[in-house]
């Protein structure tokens, strides 16, 4: 799996190559828009990390040129100009994600993972949070290494939470998931299933916690981290 880094700042390129290497990705780099388009025309990459401030052209023109010749390779735009206006035009131009400099390395890796998953290049074996692991393919849950059986609705809620662990999943989103399964639910259905799921997790000795963000939703956090 190769990643193309389009960036003119030599040191940043070095650091990015090293970061990607430790994460298990091979990478090539181009320092100008022209080089990037040339390289992209004969090599397929899993992801392109594209700096928008290139010396010869606006990075967005690279995205546009790629999309024009029907190259759907996912692009993460890196930019020093994180103004509101830039962000909007960046996404409009066809970039798949947008990351402002400076960024936390784990954030970049997470975004790459997300893009690879979205474009079907990698299929998750399991998603982990603390000692809880969820396999999206088989829909099996293991807590502390022990397979645990959950009801369909509990599983749906846990899947949503674990996919976005440490981030808030809105109550409206969970409601939608539950109503997709059945429409004979009471108005406090979300609370009910969250409550059940909490009890299950506690009983099974999970080291994760479902935190309520009142008025907004819920978030699964790893107590150990």
């Amino acid at each position: 799996m190769r990643i193309l880094i389009v960036e003119d700042h030599a040191e940043l390129v070095t650091m990015l190559v090293r970061l990607l290497e430790t994460a298990g990705y091979a990478s090539d780099c181009a320092t100008t828009a022209e080089d990037a388009l040339l390289v992209l025309s004969y090599t397929r990459y899993a992801v392109v990390i594209l700096d928008l401030g290139l010396p010869d052209a606006d990075g967005l023109s690279v995205v546009r040129a790629m999309r024009e010749r029907d190259d759907r390779t996912p692009v993460i735009a890196l930019t020093a100009r994180a103004s509101v206006a830039h962000r909007v035009t960046g996404l409009e131009a066809g970039a798949d994600d947008y990351l402002a400099k400076p960024f936390a390395p784990e954030e970049l890796l997470a975004r790459i993972q997300a893009l690879l998953r979205r474009s079907g290049i990698i299929v998750d074996r399991t998603i982990d949070c603390g000692n809880v692991s969820f396999d999206p393919a088989t829909r099996e849950v293991a807590i502390n290494g022990v397979p645990t059986v959950l009801s369909a609705r509990e599983l749906e809620v846990l899947a949503a939470l674990i996919r976005r662990s440490s981030r808030v999943v809105t109550k409206a989103h969970i409601e939608q998931l539950l109503f997709g399964l059945a429409d004979d639910l009471g108005s406090n259905a979300v609370e009910v299933y969250i409550h059940r799921l909490r009890r299950r997790l506690t009983l099974a000795g999970a080291d994760v916690e479902i935190v309520t963000v009142r008025g907004v939703g819920y978030m699964l956090v790893n107590r150990a981290a």
């Binding site: 700042h9 090293r18 402002a100 400076p102 960024f103 808030v168 935190v211 009142r214 008025g215």
Partner: protein, 453 residues
């Protein structure tokens, strides 16, 4: 005392009208003076001719007495009821002859001088012009006085004069008015490019920086001014562009090295040091980001006219910052009076302001545990915490850039609340702060949008 500035046209026309008026008076006056002098001269000549005729008619008879032999013409002039009368007197004023039409003037009022003299007299509302000329007949010296009744119907010179002036003015006055009107048109035409240039500046709201005065027909007197204004606008625009470009350049120049350093830190072996450097660099990155946000707020005019749902902005804002609050050991909650509160504003910047307020509550609420974000139906967005509060004396200062209660406290850029204040200002509103230990509330009241449900 302030004087209302008068228009160029009014000023020119006003002075011009005064000049025309003075000219009219001067012309009328000098014409009158000239005509009057001429009339007086003609009158004197007439009197002189009649006096001369009388002198010719005087002679001695054989006995040494004076005799007056008037011819028909002369007799007709002095006939009874005519405008002329005469009196011939000797040195002592003794009346020798007089005309049929009686002279009303007493003899004592007639000057007897060595030279011919003309005079004017008034007697019982009647005006007279007269001459008294000495004549020597043989040894005798007599004075021939001829008098003309100026009010007599036969005397038409004054009437002529009056009529002439009246008709003259009747013709001249409209001509002068016409001249004024034509001048007004000419001035108007000349001033038009200037007015147009002024109007182009006036109608533009707040004078956009790309505006230039470039009317080719601007008069030479005004053109340097217009060129100077253009030069100033050009310079303003270029410094504005420079500042904006500087912001973008500074962003690039600062952010990339920080990004490099942030990646390099991952190679540090000592986990303690690595963690510290990470958080330092994250802080540095945050300061740069907020500095640029401040700069962007200042240079780019926000369009705050869009209808946005405050509930949605607040929900997203709380959701995105909840993990940070959780890590800091705080709980965060959101509540709204309505499902939807539509306000007029800029969604992204309101979200940023809310982010700053929540971050401020997370960082500065000390022992406080609970952060609450609320949206009211009247368009109020509020962030409350149960921390130790902001001391009264600091409440105004906290909105200043880089202000920190404790200078050594490193976990804050000191820019967040300045951004909040600036976003509020861009929305023509302010941030209100009420604080006491245990309850601190920051609130911004936004204008409700066109559609409220």
């Amino acid at each position: 005392m302030t004087r209302q500035p008068r228009s160029l046209m009014t000023q020119i026309l006003r002075w011009h009208a005064i000049a025309v008026l003075i000219t009219a008076i001067a012309v009328a006056g000098s014409v009158y003076l000239f005509l009057d002098t001429t009339a007086a001269l003609i009158q004197q000549q007439t009197l002189h001719v009649h006096a001369e005729a009388l002198r010719q008619a005087l002679s001695h008879d054989g006995t040494g007495r004076l005799r007056l032999t008037q011819d028909n013409t002369s007799a007709a002039v002095f006939a009874s009821g005519a405008g002329f009368s005469f009196r011939i007197v000797d040195r002592r004023g003794t009346l020798l002859f007089q005309s049929q039409s009686k002279m009303v003037l007493p003899t004592a009022n007639i000057p007897l001088e060595d030279e011919e003299s003309f005079f004017r007299r008034q007697s019982r509302r009647t005006f007279y012009a007269g001459t008294s000329s000495p004549a020597r007949i043989g040894n005798e010296r007599v004075w021939i006085a001829v008098l003309q009744n100026l009010t007599h119907p036969d005397y038409i010179l004054d009437d002529l004069l009056a009529q002439f002036l009246l008709y003259g003015m009747a013709i001249v006055a409209p001509l002068l008015l016409l001249l004024l009107a034509i001048d007004a048109l000419i001035i108007r035409r000349a001033v038009l490019p200037v007015r147009r240039a002024s109007a182009s500046l006036e109608t533009a709201e707040g004078v956009p920086l790309d505006l230039r005065l470039h009317d080719e027909r601007l008069p030479a007197e005004v053109r340097p001014l217009a060129l100077a204004v253009n030069a100033i606008l050009e310079r303003l625009a270029s410094s504005y562009r420079m500042q904006r470009d500087f912001t973008a350049d500074a962003a690039h120049e600062l952010r990339t090295p920080i990004a490099v350093a942030r990646l390099r830190v991952e190679g540090v072996d000592d986990p303690g040091l690595r963690g510290q450097l990470r958080s330092d660099l994250d802080m540095l990155g945050r300061i740069v980001e907020q500095l640029l946000e401040i700069a962007e707020l200042e240079t780019v005019g926000l369009d705050t006219a869009a209808s946005v749902d405050l509930v949605r902005i607040a929900t997203d804002g709380v959701a995105s910052i909840a993990p940070l609050a959780f890590c800091a050991g705080k709980s965060i909650a959101f509540s709204s009076e309505a499902d939807k509160v539509v306000i007029a504003g800029h969604a992204v910047w309101i979200a940023k302001a809310l982010g700053c307020l929540i971050e401020n509550a997370v960082t500065h609420s000390g022992e406080g545990r609970q952060i609450e974000v609320t949206v009211s139906a009247d368009g109020t967005l509020a962030v409350c915490d149960d921390g130790s509060g902001v001391p009264e004396q600091d409440q105004a200062a906290i909105f200043r850039r880089f202000w920190k209660r404790d200078r050594s406290a490193g976990r804050s850029s000191g820019l967040g609340l300045a951004i909040v204040a600036q976003v509020a200002e861009a929305h023509q509103t302010t941030v209100s702060l009420t604080s006491r230990p245990g309850r601190t509330r920051f609130a911004i009241v936004f204008r409700l949008g066109p559609v409220t449900q």
